[in-house]
Amino acid sequence: MKSFKTAIRINLFAIVCILFYTIHAGAAIEGISGTNFNLTAKNGEISTPDGGNYLFWGFANGNGLVQYPGPTMIVNQGQTITVTLNNNITVTQGARPNVSIVFPGFNVTAVGGVDGILTKEAVPSGTVTYSFKAENPGTYTYYSGTDSGLQIEMGLVGTLIVRPAMGSGYAYNHADTAFDREFLFFLSEMDPRVHEMVETFGPDLVDTTDYLANYRPVVWFMNGRAAPDTMAENDVAWLPHQPYNCFPRMHPGEKLLMRVVGGGRDIHPLHHHGNHAKVIAREGRMLSSGPGAGPDYGYGVFTIQSQPGSTVDAIFTWTGKGIGWDIYGDADSHTCTPGPDGLDPVSFEDCSDHGKPIPVTLPGQAEVAFGGFYSGSPFLGGVDALPPGEGGLNPNGGFSFMWHSHTEKEMVNYDIFPGGMLTMIIIEASTVTID
């Protein structure tokens, strides 16, 4: 097939695009491990691609940089977990706030601090220690239980993952929850009026407004970043307080575990183009008919409703099944050996489509508008000539699908499209290495 051998037409713009959006997804979710965690609540600034900069309050791992969302804590089933919270939040005016953490779904013992309405709180410059047993695997969330209406908005939120006893390649203790890659989808939003008020006049003045009751977010995030920053690398230097990207990549036939967390206060319909996903669990509990049955009550959706404070685990797969044309292009360039399901066990081509041409006449280059994710070739793994300056965001010629909030107004950065709660998944050919 010509597409595997045609040279990519390189130019400076494409090189810059590739450098900025280097494909670097990773098979496991980035986070911190252990049984004893030290989280510091403190101030920081996040940035959005429209040039916005907002004060936030977040959690840092010990003396590290404060981040939004807070560090993803990854622990193992059966462990007793201790989280010590240090309160270093400062304000320009008024009293410094207490801060706390609640862990929905866990029976938590809190020691130290002062009594709050939901749990014990760390006073300014004080600490409080929470401990609980991670009895059940799954995806969970943590957030401030102090003035939650304000402090969750300010960014005191995060994810907790409990790995099952069966091993880190499973979501729960059942073979049907096995996955090849996992990705976090921590969905949240911000109303900058609140952050600007806190930064300039201090948090107490927020009470005199209706910003929290008459809530109007204009920026939206996946894992703390707004598109297109969702697709940059993890830990990119120019987003020091937003270390997590949200950029799934996979090979055909793999199982991708989506850990979807409602991190803000709004409901978001996560619409994952490309295929249905099977919802296997909610709030850390498999949808199951009984012990040992696994997620047999799981169901397929093409939109996952993410509710605030709630979590959903779903498994997404993609193959060439039923596409109707040879996804790898010219039949002479590759073979297809069908397994019991009719798919090649390596390339996951649908062998009944082997050699079938794409069923349309491909328009000429003078007749199309190019997107950054077009590789020049419609075939999986294919790359072909592009006019100067076009493409560049998909150097391996994968199939890209938009994964986004289907509340369409959330795909913007303060009214600028594209932005917000949006990313792309790239299905890479099986020959492409994904880190």
Binding site: F106, N107, V206, A213
Partner: protein
């Protein structure tokens, strides 16, 4: 617990229905729709409300103190009749989404733009003293909301709503609590106008008709030590969605809108869209106060934090006891 609860519900309902053959339980209640006043916790001026009260026999001469409409009850398979006296200055009706009734909608054949529109989902009790009788038959067990079906965009948010509990409750249940959410946007109350998506901005959030106070709690006493499930009935008569979270616990969600779920779900929250009801069973391990708060963060009162949709379930066992540790739910 778990699937046993659902099996027992079905068994209990079947037994109960068998007993009712030839003797259907019918139940009649007299209500009045009246003008009322509600005083916000921040001592701002009292807000004009409309509410349902037990019919005093004639229309009150002055506004009453507002509360949720009296809770209505019934029995699965039976009937419920509500006789409504309308003391307001516009037509009112009654609907209970999810319960069976024959409705006679009132149609205005030509509004100001010449359109034919329904002005009430059900027949009306006419303004200023009119009466009407509403009957629901073949009642389904569960939790429901009764509310005005006339000009609902205006009348429901004015306060014309209450809860309906149709028994029997699941057999393992030793105590019940009601968590009924509603909202008040004072700007739409004087004069009463319809809420619209752009204008509706609630300032006050109520649980069981009460604004938040630090001592607010919903009490339940669990009497029977071997059957110590608490049934939580959730209702949302507001116009915004809410997500009650029970602190540190899991619930077994049993039913939505009065429909039993096909399989048990272990969750720590439920999604209450407007008009939604849920029932969930929960077995507290020890007595004490368990927080339930809205993760949609309607946790303000007139803008100020420290209010809104937060309450506690105050569980009291009659004596110190050991509750056998049960699975925190679900299957891992």
């Amino acid at each position: 617990m778990g699937t046993k609860i659902l099996r027992r519900i079905k068994t209990t309902v079947l037994l109960f229905t068998g007993l009712l053959v030839g003797a259907v339980s019918a139940h009649a209640v007299n209500l009045a729709a009246v003008e009322a006043r509600w005083t916000p916790p921040d001592s701002a001026a009292p807000i004009t409300m409309w509410g349902f009260i037990a019919d005093p026999g004639s229309c009150p001469g002055s506004p009453v103190s507002w509360d949720l409409g009296p809770q209505q009850i019934g029995t699965a398979g039976g009937a419920l009749t509500i006789n409504l006296r309308n003391c307001l200055n516009e037509d009112v009706s009654l609907v209970i989404p999810g319960l069976n009734a024959t409705l006679s909608p009132v149609i205005n054949p030509s509004d100001t733009l010449g359109r034919s529109r329904a002005t009430s989902f059900a027949k009306v009790a006419t303004a200023n003293g009119g009466t009407a009788s509403y009957t629901w038959t073949n009642l389904k067990s569960g939790t429901f909301i009764y509310q005005s079906g006339a000009n609902p965009a205006k009348q429901v948010q004015m306060g014309l709503y209450g809860a309906v509990v149709i028994g029997p409750a699941p057999a393992d249940v030793a105590g019940e609590v009601m968590v009924f959410y509603s909202e008040i946007d004072p700007a739409l109350h004087s004069p009463p106008v319809a809420a619209t998506p752009l204008t509706y901005k609630p300032k006050y959030y109520l649980i069981n008709g009460e604004a938040y106070s630090p001592s607010q709690a919903v009490s339940v006493v669990s009497q029977n030590t071997s059957q110590s499930n608490i049934l939580i009935r959730f209702c949302n008569a507001g116009l915004m969605s809410h997500m009650p979270v029970i602190q540190g616990e899991y619930m077994t969600v049993l039913a939505e809108d009065g429909n039993p779920l096909p399989f048990e779900r272990q969750q720590y929250s439920v999604h209450l869209s407007p008009g939604k009801t849920y029932e969930a069973a929960w077995r507290p391990q020890k007595s004490g106060k368990y927080a339930i708060y809205d993760r949609r963060l309607s946790l303000t009162s007139d803008g100020a934090v420290g209010g809104g949709l937060l309450t506690y379930i105050d569980v009291r066992f009659p004596w110190p006891m050991f509750v056998p540790a049960m699975s925190k739910g679900g299957h891992n």
